[in-house]
C-alpha cells in the first residue's frame, strides 16, 4: 500500500468518525448523514482497491481513471444539491404553514387575555 493511500484512508476514517460523532450528539440527522456515509464508504473501497476505478473507467470507455473519479464525484454532488433543494422547498412550505397557524393562534390568545383582564376589572 502506498503512503498516499494510507493518508487518504486515515482522512476518510477521521471524517467518518466525525460524522458518527455528530449523529451521536444529535447535531446531524441520520437521514441526511446517510448519503455522506455511503460516499465515504465508496471512497474507502476505491482507495484500498484502486483497480476498481480502472475497471469502471474501462466499462465506461474513459481513458484516464482519474476522469471517472471527477465524473462520479460531479454526479454525486449534483444529486445531493438537488435533494437539498427539494428539502428546502418542503421546509419553507412547512414554515409558511406554521407561521400562519401561529399568527391565527396568537390573535385568539391575545383576545382571550384581553377579555379575561376586562372581566376581572369588571368584577373589581
Amino acid at each position: 500500500m502506498y503512503k498516499l493511500q494510507m493518508i487518504a484512508a486515515i482522512i476518510l476514517l477521521a471524517a467518518m468518525g466525525y460524522l458518527v460523532g455528530m449523529i451521536r450528539r444529535r447535531k446531524l440527522d441520520i437521514k441526511y448523514a446517510l448519503s455522506w456515509m455511503i460516499m465515504i464508504g465508496l471512497m474507502l473501497i476505491v482507495d484500498i482497491f484502486p483497480p476498481i476505478l480502472s475497471l469502471i473507467s474501462h466499462l465506461f470507455g474513459i481513458a484516464t481513471p482519474v476522469n471517472t473519479l471527477f465524473f462520479l464525484g460531479f454526479i454525486f454532488s449534483l444529486m445531493l444539491i438537488f435533494v437539498l433543494t427539494v428539502s428546502v422547498s418542503r421546509l419553507s412550505d412547512r414554515m409558511r404553514q406554521m407561521s400562519q397557524a401561529l399568527a391565527l393562534a396568537e390573535k385568539r390568545i391575545r383576545e382571550l387575555e384581553e377579555s379575561n383582564t376586562s372581566e376581572t376589572e369588571n368584577k373589581e
Partner: protein
C-alpha cells in the same frame, strides 16, 4: 339573509405605519359593513404598535412570508371565522374603499366567485408606467390564450373572493407575485371570474415591490407559473 353576508377586508401590511390609519379610516367611512384585519408581515416599523393603540384587529406573522403568504393568512382567518366574502386590499393607499360596496353588489349580481378590480376597463386614474402596462398586456394575452378568459388587469391586487375562492386560496396560494397565477388557478378550478372597473391611486407611501431589476425575474417567474398552472390537473 342573503344580504347579511359576513365580509372581511384583508389588509396585508409590511412597514405601512404611515398609511395604515388612513386606509382603516376610509374603510370605516365607506365600507362600514365590512370587517377588516391587518396582516402584519413582520414589519420593522411601528405597524403593530399602531394597530394595538387604535384597536385595529391584526394578525402578527412571526416571520416574514412575503405578500402571498400574508394574504393567504387572511384567507385562513376568513375561513376559520366563517366569512363568506373576503377582499384583498392594499394598505398603502392605492385602493379606494368606496368601491367595496360596489364590488360586493357585482359579485352577488353576477354570481361570481372571484371579482377583480381593473384599472384598464375605463382607463381612469393611476395607470402605471408604459412599460408596466405592456407587461400587464402580455399577461392578459397569455392568460387569454391558455384559459380563454380575458382579464384586463391580471396584476390587480384588489380582488374579492366568494366562499369557494376563499377555500381554494386558503389551501393553495402562490408565495411571491401571486396575482396573475392565483387568477389562473381560480379559473382552472372552475370559478367564475368577473372584472369591474375601478380607479386606483398612486401609492401614498413606499415603493412598488417590483423594481426594474426584479421585473425580468417577475416576467419569467409569472409566465412559468401560469404555464404550470395550466398543466395542473384538478
Amino acid at each position: 339573509m342573503n344580504n347579511k353576508k359576513k365580509c372581511l377586508v384583508i389588509i396585508p401590511a409590511y412597514n405601512e405605519e404611515k398609511s395604515i390609519l388612513d386606509t382603516v379610516r376610509d374603510l370605516k367611512e365607506y365600507a362600514p359593513e365590512f370587517d377588516y384585519i391587518v396582516v402584519n408581515d413582520c414589519s420593522k416599523d411601528g405597524t403593530v404598535a399602531l394597530c394595538k393603540k387604535n384597536q385595529i384587529p391584526f394578525l402578527d406573522l412571526p416571520v416574514n412570508l412575503g405578500i402571498g403568504g400574508a394574504v393567504q393568512t387572511g384567507y385562513h382567518y376568513a375561513l376559520e371565522n366563517g366569512y363568506q366574502i373576503a377582499v384583498q386590499f392594499d394598505g398603502d393607499g392605492q385602493h379606494d374603499a368606496r368601491y367595496l360596496e360596489n364590488m360586493k353588489e357585482s359579485l352577488e349580481r353576477e354570481k361570481a366567485d372571484l371579482l377583480i378590480g381593473s384599472r384598464f376597463i375605463e382607463k381612469k386614474g393611476f395607470q402605471s408606467s408604459g412599460l408596466r402596462r405592456l407587461g400587464i398586456r402580455y399577461f392578459t394575452i397569455l392568460i387569454r390564450m391558455l384559459t380563454g378568459v380575458r382579464i384586463t388587469d391580471p396584476t390587480s391586487g384588489m380582488r374579492m373572493a366568494g366562499e369557494q375562492a376563499i377555500l381554494i386560496f386558503a389551501t393553495h396560494y402562490p408565495k411571491d407575485y401571486p396575482e396573475p397565477e392565483s387568477a389562473v388557478a381560480a379559473i382552472r378550478q372552475g370559478l367564475k371570474l368577473v372584472e369591474i372597473p375601478v380607479v386606483m391611486r398612486d401609492r401614498m407611501e413606499g415603493t412598488s415591490s417590483i423594481s426594474a431589476g426584479k421585473s425580468i425575474y417577475y416576467m419569467i417567474k409569472v409566465t412559468l407559473a401560469i404555464l404550470l398552472e395550466r398543466m395542473r390537473r384538478y
